[in-house]
């Protein structure tokens, strides 16, 4: 059996509406993975975090 998760998450720091739209991106901490391919995980273990 397999479980596939597909989700939306922030990709960078939160800019205000005008800042974000007019000044372009402002890189910052967004989504980060905590896992490696092939790693064994248990229920409740963090796969990643915002």
């Amino acid at each position: 059996s397999t479980i596939v998760l597909v989700f939306e998450a922030p990709k960078g720091q939160r800019p205000s509406f005008d800042e974000g739209y007019q000044e372009g991106k402002r890189e910052g901490p967004g989504w980060e993975w905590n896992i490696e391919p092939g790693q064994h995980v248990k229920v409740g273990q963090a796969l990643g975090q915002v």
Binding site: V4, V6, A9, F17, Y21, K42, L47, G48, V50
Partner: protein, 447 residues
């Protein structure tokens, strides 16, 4: 003759189970072959006689997808996998003699690496068969949840096969084989419930037979989201549905979106509007070109991520909610039941889009969230705790899917390939079934 009968030693030996399964498989295979041949002959006769068409001819049945791949995959695609899975399930529901249970389950645990100290029921005699042992529960507290409230938790015990970012609407499988989100989740935007009933009720789609494969019209999409763009991103008060979808607006990386290149998607024009109303009009125009699952436009620039977790036979086979989220709808794709072992994931392109699966669609704090348990030959059915109407790996659902495909063909439409139901909640704000992080959602059962 008497002497021969008396002196000949009679020895009784059981027929191997594998042989029985194989013979049933062969019988089923020949039966399907005969049926298909008869169907093709009938179709050919109708075409030759001028009786075909939407009115007089026999409608087409659901076409089984034949995968491409190496010889092992080709052989597998000819096997009656669903019949084998159901037979395997029945076999595993046979009651094991009381005194064989403990050694049998201990052997199983040794072979597949089950940690018996975590099992909630320490007395293995309590499990009457392998199916119940397979669907065992764990002791409270053996799976602590990560304390970080912003973390996405592992939904199950298993092995991480692949994870990453979705670009161009495609999920990359191991070794570069990709499949599209449209194939995995369905190409249309999910329906949302409008009425309020107690939590957990489902409203099956009465028109599951067919629906257009193309995305919704742009006018409808932009109209739905126009009133709720850029709401506060507090939990469960997310932008309604999937309108205003500019995944990479703030980053300026529009090249990775799946939008067809039109003048409106050009980066140079992205920063040109000055007033907020112009910006919104611009966004509405762009949103009309986006697929329904594309990231919603909120204050926060977002992207789509995916993760594939494989559960081995010895793993705990119940699955849990990775985050707090609201499930708005589910889609059941009848599909086939190929194995989902890492080997086959590498060798069979688009495996997850061929297999039977239940796609749960909803939203969480940051927007779109989907959760897809994919079935396999040895693990026959998928159970969702809050969806009592769902039946997977069932002859009834197969028949219903065939009937739906026939009706779609009769109407001259394409078959969407799934049955959809929406979840309703007592609270009109939720618009779905709410789940807490770590909450048990369901599981995979044998057979």
């Amino acid at each position: 003759l008497r002497a021969a009968l008396r002196s000949t030693k009679v020895e009784w030996k059981p027929i191997p189970v594998g042989l029985g399964i194989a013979s049933l498989g062969v019988l089923q295979f020949y039966r399907i072959q005969r049926r298909e041949q008869a169907r093709q002959e009938e179709e050919a006769r109708q075409t030759a006689g001028g009786e075909g068409g939407q009115d007089g001819g026999k409608p087409k049945k659901r076409q089984r997808v034949r995968p491409t791949g190496p010889w092992s995959v080709q052989i597998m695609s000819t096997l009656p996998l669903k019949a084998l899975s159901r037979l395997w399930g029945r076999f595993n529901e046979l009651e094991i003699p009381y005194y064989l249970r403990v050694p049998g389950f201990k052997l199983y645990s040794f072979v597949f690496g089950v940690n018996l100290s975590e099992v909630s029921e320490p007395d293995l005699h309590a499990y009457p068969n392998l199916a119940s042992f397979f669907y065992r529960t764990l002791k409270p507290g053996v799976r602590p949840l990560d304390p970080n409230p912003h973390a996405v938790l592992s939904p199950a015990d298993g092995k991480v096969i692949q994870f990453g970012t979705i670009e161009h609407g495609e999920v990359e499988q191991v070794k570069g084989v990709t499949y599209s989100l449209d194939s995995l989740l369905g190409s249309q935007k999910p329906k949302t419930s409008g009425t309020s009933t107690p939590s957990g009720n489902t409203t099956p789609d009465t028109n599951i037979a067919s629906s257009p494969q193309s995305p919704q019209p742009s006018s409808e999409r932009s109209k739905e989201g126009s009133a709720e763009v850029i709401k506060d991103d507090e939990e469960f008060a997310q932008v309604n549905g999937i309108s205003y979808t500019l995944p990479n607006l703030f980053s300026g990386d529009l090249s990775s979106s799946t939008t067809t290149q039109t003048p409106a998607t050009d980066q140079s024009t992205a920063a040109s509007p000055s007033s907020e109303s112009e910006v919104r009009a611009d966004l509405a125009l762009r949103a009309s070109e986006q697929p329904w699952w594309a990231p919603s436009f909120t204050k926060t620039p977002t992207a789509l991520y995916y993760c594939v977790v494989y559960l081995a036979p010895g793993d705990y086979h119940r699955f849990h909610s990775p985050v707090s989220w609201v499930v708005e709808s589910r889609r059941h794709f009848a599909g086939e039941l190929y194995s989902v072992s890492p080997y086959l994931q590498r060798t069979l392109p688009g495996l997850f889009t061929l297999n039977e699966r239940v796609v749960l669609l909803g939203r969480w704090r940051w927007g779109f969230f989907s959760y897809t348990p994919v079935g396999a030959t040895n693990v026959g059915s998928i159970v969702i705790n809050f969806d009592k109407e769902l039946r997977t790996n069932s002859l009834l659902t197969d028949t219903a899917a065939d009937r739906a495909a026939e009706e779609a063909a009769r109407r001259g439409e394409a078959y969407s390939g799934f049955a959809e139901a929406t979840y309703e909640s007592a609270s009109p704000l939720l618009r779905g079934h709410a789940l807490k992080r770590g909450e048990e959602m369901g599981g995979f059962q044998l057979g």
